[in-house]
């Protein structure tokens, strides 16, 4: 079973082979490293850029205007804050030019906590990214969704911010990517060896055009008693808790994995909440001006009389950073026990 980094790598290879991706670049993206999370190992069009985030996004924007479909990487989303105006340019270029310039570019970047990344390797950018109107934003939680969303992102004529949950890049999924061989064979084919890699070349499995539509959520666990809306690192945590709650007879929880933050799948959220009447939003962003607050406000506007109890948010605490000590990180960021507690409280809330 491929992990998420391998899935992204395979999607990028498919992009090189079939979708016209000629430039994949960023800091340490090319050989010998192939990305700090190895998501670009073995790709023929991957190359190393200067250590310059503004130049990276500027280069991607110029390449997109020149008709290429570049994929650029910001090494950690924590480094993206000094290029927000460049991302705004990418996001508003189509609108500001009266529709005359399309901007088909992908910016991928590892986001969120879970790797003991401390102050500047644990940030989430999810909520801020939803304010870059004109930019599409996706965030997979499984390898197959990472593969399908990357292919959809490459095909898009809009700029797409592809958020890679750091903590999940080594995680494996439950579904095979079409064309994926067994785990050892895949490893031997596309993982660079340790040591001298100068003569190594990846051998790629035969891959297919499997795209996940941007803007479509996934019901990862069906249920009737309550709805959880989540994405990224928190999605597998929520799925695991929902399965255990069901097995233990504590409640039937529907888990919506958003996959796309912009555009988001409003119809899926609304339909689920109308069914369950109870909803809990869970993500890693801090609670102040959290993206889910917008969704809660919209639910109150449009589904007020279907709500049995108040809608809830489980989010990161609004601290200036993520502390390194596990005591601090696990307190600041939602963990499994927090999810269990929040769901239990929601289910216990009298209608």
């Amino acid at each position: 079973m491929a992990n998420m980094a391998q899935a992204i790598r395979m999607a990028l290879h498919y992009g090189e082979q079939e979708l016209g991706v000629t430039e994949i670049f960023g800091e340490d993206v090319g050989p010998p490293l192939g990305g700090v999370f190895t998501a670009t190992q073995g790709l023929k069009n991957a190359w190393n850029s200067p250590l310059d985030e503004r130049g990276i996004i500027g280069a991607a924007l110029g390449l997109a205007w020149a008709g290429a479909r570049p994929v650029a990487e910001i090494q950690f989303v924590d480094y993206i804050f000094n290029v927000i105006d460049m991302l705004k340019l990418a996001a508003n270029g189509h609108w500001s030019s009266g529709g005359r310039y399309k901007t088909p570019m992908v910016v991928m970047t590892p986001t969120g906590s879970g790797i003991h990344g401390s102050m500047y390797h644990s940030h989430s950018f999810d909520s801020i990214s939803t304010k870059l109107h004109g930019m599409k934003v996706v965030c997979p939680s499984t390898p197959i969704d990472a593969y399908g969303l990357m292919i959809a992102a490459i095909k898009s004529d809009d700029p797409v911010l592809f958020l890679k949950p750091k903590a999940l890049l080594r995680s494996k999924g439950e579904e095979l990517i079409p064309g994926e061989p067994d785990e050892k064979t895949l490893h031997d084919m596309i993982d660079a060896p340790l040591g001298d890699r100068s003569k190594w070349k990846a051998k790629w499995p035969k891959l297919t055009d499997y795209a996940v539509e941007i803007g479509k959520a996934k019901i990862s666990h069906a249920g009737e008693d309550a709805t959880i809306v989540t994405h990224g690192r928190m999605a597998p945590v929520c799925l695991d808790v929902a399965r255990r709650f069901k097995a233990e007879g504590k409640g039937r929880i529907e888990v919506i994995d958003l996959r796309s933050l912009i555009p988001y799948d409003w119809e899926a959220i609304k339909a689920s909440v109308k069914k369950t009447g109870r909803v809990l939003f869970i993500n890693e962003e801090t609670e102040i001006t959290n993206f889910a607050e917008h969704l809660i406000r919209r639910l109150v506007d449009e589904c007020f009389y279907e709500l049995k109890v108040r809608p809830r948010l489980l989010a990161g605490k609004a601290t200036p950073g993520i502390g390194l000590s596990p005591n601090l990180e696990y307190f600041i960021q939602p963990q499994t026990k927090d999810v269990e507690r929040a769901i239990s409280e929601m289910l216990a809330d009298p209608a």
Binding site: A59, A66, G67, L89, H94, R100, Y101, D301
Partner: protein, 346 residues
């Protein structure tokens, strides 16, 4: 800061360029000047809002526009301009009426559908990428088209221009570094038009470097040059030299042109005439002294351009403003999802 002259133009340089070409240049310079002055009047007369532009830069910008390899795609020059570049686009064939449309923010504004400030062009048929009000970001985006052209088998190049104050931004230095990467030098003509000011702040109070073009010195394959951009002859020759180098060698060139700023920064500083050297007057004087044209020739051009502008302005004044629903056009290239929030709240 009065513009400096690096070297006086050779005595016969006017004749070498020829009367016909000089008159064409003069016509484009007049067109650009009258357009900017009309835009200023519109902004002050309630026929638009904020003005920002480049009157005083025509002697450099018109030759630049005329030397562009104009077209669409990587086999033609790409331009990453800023908001003082009207003379460049006019020299390439843009119509003054379209700038008037953008100033009045009418629906027919072809550059932004009434969404952006005047002199913020987007002309895909000329490879003029969207101009942004953000300072210096065009130096970062120029890297991308430069890469595309470095990969292609073409003599086409990327041109980026901006002002002197913006060179303090990191984007300028990003451009220098990326354009000079040993693994892939980029064919970018990096231009800085130095009018000596950043809004109200004198460049000499903030910049210790003698010439902005001195930033070329650390890079062995990137020539750097400072010229008098008020001098049409010097500008034409310097641009020919720079274009030739970049097209042939596929490597960058840093060109600094010192010019006047005849109406200040923008509406924010009043947009009133400043007593600095006027490049059109200098050209007319130079041609007259050499017997290449007479005052009557120039008057004919001024009158014809003014009349054409009057007619264009008259037309624009009756064109419709954009419908409010048009704000939802172009948010995404593939259309707005039906569930996208459009109410602006509850």
């Amino acid at each position: 800061m009065p513009p400096k002259t690096a070297a006086p133009a050779a005595p016969d340089a006017y004749k070498k360029l020829g009367a016909a070409k000089l008159l064409k240049i003069h016509e484009l310079m007049v067109r650009a000047r009258l357009l900017e002055e009309r835009l200023i009047k519109m902004s002050k007369g309630g026929d638009g809002f904020f003005w920002i532009g480049g009157p005083g830069e025509e002697a450099f910008n018109v030759p630049l526009g005329m030397q562009i390899k104009k077209g669409h795609g990587v086999n033609f020059d790409f331009l990453h301009l800023h908001y003082r570049s009207a003379a460049i686009t006019l020299a390439m064939g843009a119509k003054p009426i379209d700038a008037l449309r953008q100033m009045r923010s009418v629906a027919t504004d072809p550059y932004s559908k009434g969404r952006n400030f005047v002199n913020h062009y987007a002309i895909p048929e000329y490879n003029v990428v969207p101009v942004s009000p953000t300072i210096e970001t065009q130096y970062s985006t120029s890297i991308g088209t430069g890469i595309a052209q470095a990969r292609a088998k073409t003599d086409a190049v990327t041109i980026v221009n901006g002002g002197d104050a913006g060179t303090a931004e990191g984007d300028f230095h990003s451009c220098l570094v990326w354009a000079n990467r040993p693994v892939l030098p980029l064919p970018i003509l990096i231009i800085v038009v130095n009018n000596g000011w950043g809004i109200s702040t004198a460049g000499r109070t903030q910049h210790g470097e003698k010439n902005i073009s001195d930033w070329a010195k650390p890079f062995p394959d990137m020539p750097g040059k400072t010229i008098n951009g008020n001098d049409i002859i010097e500008s034409w020759a310097a641009l020919e030299e720079a274009f030739s180098y970049v097209r042939k060698n596929r490597k960058p060139y840093l060109l600094e042109a010192r010019t006047s700023r005849l109406y200040g920064h923008s509406s924010s500083s009043g947009a009133n005439r400043i007593p600095e050297p006027d490049c059109i007057e200098l050209l007319e004087k130079g041609m007259t002294e050499r017997g290449l044209a007479k005052a009557a020739d120039f008057k004919k051009t001024w009158d014809a351009e003014a009349a054409a502008l009057d007619a264009a302005h008259k037309q624009v004044k009756v064109e419709p403003f954009p419908e409010t629903a048009s704000v939802w056009e172009d948010v995404f290239a593939d259309g707005l999802p039906s569930s996208y929030p459009t109410k602006g709240g509850s």
